[in-house]
């Protein structure tokens, strides 16, 4: 089972996608298949933490099979403490996404759900791939369903937003691919574990490593996004279907930064850290300021995301033990909280047909349950103690204060205060105050049982993550550490299987 589980998690959504494409579009059949598939995938992902051996270094549930002989690409997947909970998060958000689309997507449901499930496969693939080509494949694959779905289901100008999103994320992956190819010509392997060993101990010219690391960083920084590469974010958020907006930003890019940028080029990442810290703090404040003045709640959420994700970038490039644990924890918390808020905003939009904040007012009196959940989500997002957002923010800010720089921490903390301001102001404008024309005239029902069934666990999860963070932090802290400043000479066990032709300057086929 441990051998099979990752492949299963990868392929079940794909099988679901094929099934959805084949069945007739009748009586919510595609919805149910998608829901069952995603729930099954989620249950499979829960197998991972249940059988994960804490404190054991390296990757677990590993599968390594040759796939393409030349160039040697292998199906190498595995999970460690970093990707473990992220994978569970992906599994959890999939059914949430299906429920969020339940009423919002009414036409071409087959296309929607099959592409949504393909997207799931691609995301799972990104988190488990340990072969750089495999990783790159899934990374690129994740763009296509996203772009098509944004184009097809965009609110106003879907195709334009889709094109913007696609080009913003596709073009930076060109240098990434060239970097990967160059690494292959030098080392004859795409295997992440091998490359990591080779780069720490091999004699690679510093300038080459510098260029490689920049190519990696650029691709990931656009995907996160890091200020000033966030141009695609607001349009994508305001056009993307709710189920996709939940997953489009953050996780993939942040994970890739930790795993591949810092994992492969620790020294170069440390050199770039001061710049990234500065950009992150700018992003925190800039995002928060822009969020304050948005008139559309999707755009507000986009800039809020920029602010929150920048905080995580700050933690990652702070290179402190606590900061890293906080960063991973904050990715998880942000994923859960954002999913809940997006689901609620989507529900609001389906009911009232508007995303202008000024159109709303006094919704709480009409839809009390929706309002309650939104307030819980908001409080978790702004980092109220006892809720999930607090733990991550506290770990990040305190570790940055102690380990990195007091000035930056104080600046970043302002962003957190601004965060509370724009979120609470949003709640006030949407749910309280006098009843607006729109909310007064439209007849809307409160959350239906399906939405409640998915929101209640999310709210409980936010609370649990706030009260008992050690359940998650234990695993995270056991395995996620920033690389030491100086490369140690202790070789990991995997070096024993390094093939003989590791670093050779001789090229194949040279004549």
């Amino acid at each position: 089972m441990n051998q099979m589980i990752l492949t299963l998690i990868l392929l079940v959504p794909l099988a679901g996608a094929v099934l959805v494409a084949l069945v007739p579009d009748r009586a919510k059949l595609p919805n149910w298949i998608a829901l069952l598939t995603t729930l099954a995938t989620f249950i499979f992902t829960l197998h991972l933490p249940a059988h994960f051996v804490q404190g054991q270094g390296g990757f677990q549930f590993e599968v390594n099979r040759p796939w393409i002989e030349s160039p040697a690409i292998s199906y190498h997947v595995g999970v460690d403490a970093l990707s473990l909970w992220l994978l569970v998060l992906v599994g959890l958000l999939a059914p949430v996404g299906v429920v969020a689309s339940w009423n919002a997507v009414t036409e071409r449901r087959k296309v929607f759900y099959s592409l949504f499930l393909v997207q799931q496969t691609a995301m799972v693939g990104v988190f488990i791939a340990l072969d750089l080509m495999l990783y790159y494949g899934f990374w690129e694959l994740s763009l296509v369903p996203m772009a098509i779905l944004i184009a097809m289901y965009g609110r106003k100008d879907g195709p334009k937003a889709a094109l913007k999103f696609f080009l913003f994320t596709f073009i930076p992956s060109a240098p990434l691919l060239v970097a990967i190819l160059w690494m292959y010509t030098q080392t004859h392997t795409f295997d992440f574990v091998l490359l990591q060993v080779l780069f720490t101990h091999g004699a690679f010219p510093a300038s080459a490593l510098c260029w490689l690391s920049l190519a990696f960083l650029f691709a990931f920084a656009v995907k996160v996004p890091v200020f000033p590469l966030h141009g695609w974010l607001a349009d994508t958020f305001s056009e993307a279907p709710v189920a996709l907006a939940m997953v489009v930003a953050g996780k993939l890019g942040l994970y890739s930064m930790i795993r591949f940028h810092i994992g492969l080029f620790p020294a170069q990442a440390r050199a770039a850290a001061p710049w990234l810290i500065a950009l992150a703090v700018i992003g925190i404040l800039y995002g928060a300021c822009l969020a304050l003045v948005q008139r559309d709640f999707w755009r507000l959420m986009a800039f809020a995301a920029l602010s929150h994700l920048s905080l995580i970038v700050l933690a990652i490039y702070g290179f402190t033990f606590t900061g890293w644990a906080g960063a991973v924890y904050q990715i998880l918390s942000h994923g859960v909280v954002d999913a809940a808020l997006f689901l609620l905003l989507g529900a609001l939009e389906v009911r009232y047909g508007a995303s202008q904040i000024s159109a709303y007012g006094g919704v709480a009196a009409k839809l009390p349950r929706l309002a309650t959940f939104f307030v819980i989500g908001t409080l978790a997002m702004i980092g109220l103690p006892m809720l999930s957002g607090f733990v991550g923010e506290f770990l990040i800010l305190s570790s940055t204060f102690v380990g990195v720089s007091r000035g930056w921490t104080i600046a970043a903390a302002f962003g957190v205060i601004l965060g509370a301001a724009y979120m609470l102001w949003l709640v006030q404008r949407l749910f309280y105050g006098s009843t607006s024309k729109l909310t007064g005239e439209t007849v809307a029902s409160d959350l239906h049982p399906g939405e409640l069934a998915i929101l209640a666990p999310l709210a409980v999860l936010m609370l649990a993550m706030g009260i008992a963070p050690s359940f998650w932090l234990g695993t995270i802290q056991s395995g996620v550490h920033p690389p030491p400043e100086k490369a140690t000479t202790v070789l990991p066990t995997s070096v024993l299987v390094v093939p003989a032709m590791t670093i050779s300057t001789q090229r194949e086929g040279q004549r």
Binding site: G137, A162, Y184, G509
Partner: protein, 504 residues
């Protein structure tokens, strides 16, 4: 020494020729009113036989026949199967996509088959004069096919443009051959390869290389010899473009590989920067021009120019890896391009009733099958992983990186980002809903018939196989590359000895 009967060395070409002649004869003896669709079956059968016989040639010891003018090797078999595969898809497609009323339908199939003869011979010829004849056979067939819609204004325009520019380019090639003969006293590829290093700095040799490159680069529509492409693709029927944009190019790339890697490897330092520049120019010009096109066929014509550029990037690779990458890319490009033009042929119809990008709006709703295939082929053309287009680009650029041309790879990949812009514009337009006014205007789509579906599925299958399990094709490409790198022992060619002073 030469135990293999010569006829076996050209068996696929013989089969194709017999098929073509047979079609012409049967066509002439049939009553004028009878449907010509059965001719398509004869052609398809002949092509299938040619593929089979080509695969049988793998069992022969690699070597030359007919006094060293043609050879059989994994290289020739690779390209034979590729060309005949494309022709087969085009034939099946034509049988459903050609309207009953098309004039000279029997000849249409015959011309496709005769074109295939030329293309196949082009890949297996190792004597430059045979190369020239093969090129002419394939070109003349395609000139006529390009102008098949003679009742429209654009059909004859396409044919004449293609013919004039094409003959001009062929003349360049012939001139190059003549100069090579003047410099070395032979036109046999292996003898040339042996003679040229000793005459390496001979200005004649350099001039002959340059002229030959002009001729071949025209055929693959690489910039700056690309100007004919959009006009011809726009004017020719889409079923013909499906063939035209793939099979002759595959054959021409085979010739290019033979010329640069087998005849002129000693001038490596000369043609590498040249092809580098042509590659960069082709992809940039192609993509920039494609971005501005509103006509789908013109857009894809420019995209095929860009793809020629990506393919040429592989020539920056060293020896075997470069040849293998170029061969693989040719196959991947052929699979997806023949597919995308097949979809367009079925959507726009024989007379191009829906030529513009905006006409494709709502295709995914009007015909989910064709719409999703269009998106699939476009995704492959973008180069998204798990499709043939990805591995094609991947091998091509990794060959370039391997050969040290990192800048070329970066330019190429940035270009594919640019290209994604217009491919996705088409795909996303197909994904948009029609307005009510539009849906009233556009006639409902006819469902594609069985043979067209088979043709499309063959293209889909090939694109997916090349993207997910490329090992076998890659092996074939590598062994093809290998044979090109290690020429067999040349048989003495008594007939070809010409009393000329040999400059060595």
């Amino acid at each position: 020494m030469n135990q293999v009967p010569d006829i076996l060395r050209i068996l696929p070409e013989v089969i194709l020729t017999v098929t073509g002649v047979l079609i012409m004869l049967v066509d002439a003896s049939m009553p004028a009113s009878a449907p010509r669709r059965p001719m398509g079956w004869i052609a398809a059968l002949g092509t299938t036989l040619a593929i089979w016989s080509s695969l049988q040639q793998l069992a022969l010891p690699a070597g030359t026949g007919f006094f060293g003018t043609v050879e059989t090797s994994p290289f020739t078999v690779f390209f034979h199967v590729l060309v005949c595969g494309i022709v087969l898809v085009a034939l099946l497609l034509s049988m459903d996509a050609l309207p009953e009323t098309t004039h000279h339908q029997g000849e249409f199939y015959a011309l496709i088959v005769f074109g295939a003869v030329g293309m196949c011979l082009l890949t297996s010829a190792v004597e430059l004069l045979v190369v020239f004849i093969a090129l002419e056979i394939s070109s003349i067939a395609t000139y006529i096919l390009a102008g098949y819609r003679k009742e429209t204004g654009k059909g004859p325009e396409a044919a004449i443009k293609y013919f004039l520019l094409g003959s001009f380019a062929t003349a360049f090639l012939l001139y190059g051959i003549a100069l090579a003969f003047g410099a070395t006293g032979t036109t046999q590829v292996y003898e040339l390869a042996r003679a040229i290093p000793t005459a390496a700095n001979h200005p004649l040799v350099v001039a002959s290389l340059a002229l030959m490159l002009v001729g071949i680069l025209f055929k693959v529509s690489a910039a700056p010899f690309h100007v004919w492409t959009p006009d011809v693709y726009e004017g020719a029927p889409s079923v013909v473009v499906a063939l035209l944009s793939t099979a002759p190019k595959a054959a021409a790339f085979a010739l290019l590989l033979r010329v640069v890697y087998e005849i002129f490897p000693s001038l490596h330092a000369l043609w590498t920067p040249l092809l580098w520049a042509v590659a960069v120019l082709s992809m940039t010009v192609g993509n920039l021009a494609a971005l501005r096109q509103q006509n789908v066929k013109r857009m894809l014509a420019y995209s095929s120019i860009a793809h020629a550029g990506y393919l040429l990037a592989a020539f920056a690779g060293l020896g075997t890896s470069g040849i293998a990458a170029a061969s693989f890319y040719t196959a991947a490009y052929a699979a997806m391009n023949v597919g995308v033009f097949a979809v367009i042929a079925l959507v726009s119809g024989y007379d191009d009733e829906l030529p513009l990008v905006s006409d494709f709006r709502g295709l995914l709703y009007r015909s989910p099958f064709l719409g999703s295939l269009l998106v699939f082929f476009l995704v492959s053309l973008v180069g998204i992983p798990f499709t043939g287009g990805f591995f094609g680009k991947f091998y091509s650029f990794s060959a370039a990186v391997d050969g040290g041309a990192i800048a070329l790879a970066i330019i190429g990949l940035l270009n594919s980002g640019l290209a994604a812009g217009y491919y996705l514009r088409l795909a996303l337009t197909a994904a948009q809903r029609n307005t009510d006014e539009e849906s009233a205007r556009i006639a409902p789509m006819a469902q594609p018939k069985l043979l067209a579906v088979v043709a499309l599925l063959m293209a889909v299958g090939a694109t997916l196989v090349l993207g997910i399990v490329p090992n076998q094709v890659l092996h074939a490409a590598q062994s093809a590359a290998h044979t090109l790198q290690t020429p067999p022992v040349v048989q003495p060619a008594p007939v070809m000895v010409i009393d000329q002073p040999v400059i060595r």
